[in-house]
Amino acid sequence: MNWIIDHLPQLLSVSGEHLQLALVPVAVGLLLSLPLAWVANRWPVARAILVPVSALLYTIPSLALFVMMPLLLGTKVLDPINVQAALTIYTVALLVRAIADALAAVPESVIQAASAMGYRAVGRFFAVELPLAVPVLIAGVRVAAVSNISLVAVGQIIGVGGLGFFLLQGFQSSPPNYQEIVGGIVLIVVLALVVDGLLALAGRALAPWNRKAVSR
């Protein structure tokens, strides 16, 4: 405990950095996934390509992806963009399929009704289809956020790992500093739980109809 209490200010500031490394990719990934999912939902051919490709991307080991990033992007090894770009790829891989499925699940009768009321395709997407996809979309975002928060630590392998720093440093100390390792792990878990909880609340606020429908 002593180590944790002594290093509290440092732990907190690194936590902020950790969150930034994990969540900026969630936001960027979401923005990229929306048009891709729309395309996948619109054209069966696009879906037949996008969904398997995104599943494939998700199977690349994070370690390998992090190491490849500076080569692929031409960035400096210590540039945080390496970690963020890799995590964005994972987020997109997770969300494209989830959002495409959510859009496909919007009842045909509702889409027909929206068109018959006089919505054009784009207006209908934002006014009807996307809001109805929110519960599934939030579920996907929660998985991506939690997954990213844990994956950031792996980024320590290329020198940018947020709280992963304490895991590696604790391990490399002689003898290993278990307080430091446990402190890092606990903080990562706490961050993941808090973010997951906040997203769940946001989902309830964004889709009140979904909640009330259950408690008729």
Binding site: A113, M117, Y119, L132, W209, R216
Partner: protein, 368 residues
Amino acid sequence: MIEFQSVTKRYDDGTVAVDELDLTIDDGKITVLVGPSGCGKTTSLRMINRMVEASSGTILVDGADIRSQRPAALRRGIGYVIQNAGLFPHRTVLDNIATVPILLGTKKAAARRRAEELLDTVGLPRELAKRYPAQLSGGQQQRVGVARALAADPPVLLMDEPFSAVDPVVRDDLQEELLRLQSELGKTIVFVTHDIDEAIKLGDKVAVLRVGGKLAQYDTPATLLAKPVDDFVAGFVGRDRGYRALGFLSAHGVEVAPLSTLTLGEPAPVVTGWTVVVDERRRPLGWLSAKSTVEGEIRSADLVAGGSLYVADSTAAGSLRAALDSALSSPSGTGIAVDAEGAVVGGVTADSVLKVLDAARRSGEVPS
């Protein structure tokens, strides 16, 4: 006025859904398109607001070709009600109703005020305003669907089998409500159904379509029942069409004969025939059988249930169908005629109904 001018819908696979349809739909009336599945009735309806594009031919609404407007703009000016209501699950009742006015640029607050009024119009309590569609019954959802279609006050309303997914009792309510609404609003309504009874009940005119999208007959319900043009229409209209046609003839002139009555709790007399038993306000409770052996006070348990009642109000006489049905369904063979308050005014027999029918036939009131 909506005009179909030799309109054809042919799909890419060669299927012809609608074949050279010519049809003129009158303003301010309910026109029902009816037919078996595959007759192109829904396709015809959906061509009016360009949810389906015609392959050839022209559709005019108030003289203007529907293709002269962009589809979205056209649709905002035409109300549309679909089966299962098709409400937006993520919007409250009020916001569902306000959809089209908001699309047309009405301020949200004003659109919501108008939506609240529409709740009254379609007979829904205002407490439902903040609910979501999943929290409503099927009948309530359908009423919201009608309110949403009416919100921008369009002159034309398209209704695609709107009441087919609700149970018969609710359907009956919704049909009555639609007729009441229509008597106030006078919209041009095009209504699609596969149910000939619904078509005959609601339609000012009924277009019967046959499989392959050809118009078989376009007439008033009374003419359709009396003079089907061919075996297909006759078969579709149904076997008991002669009986149902009576629904369009006024029972004015049907003799309502005096009927002897007993009040519940009275001592039973020596009965000589079927006798109606009434409550203290002369409302019928049932019959005392001609073979009754009741002694002492008449109790509810002694009664035989009565048939349907024929409401013979002095202002609005019922139909011949109602009068005849009351006679046919009565255990005594005499139908009970009641006034608007439900009190017994007399009895009608099948013979007296047939006499009036005969007279109507001779005077040419019945199409023949």
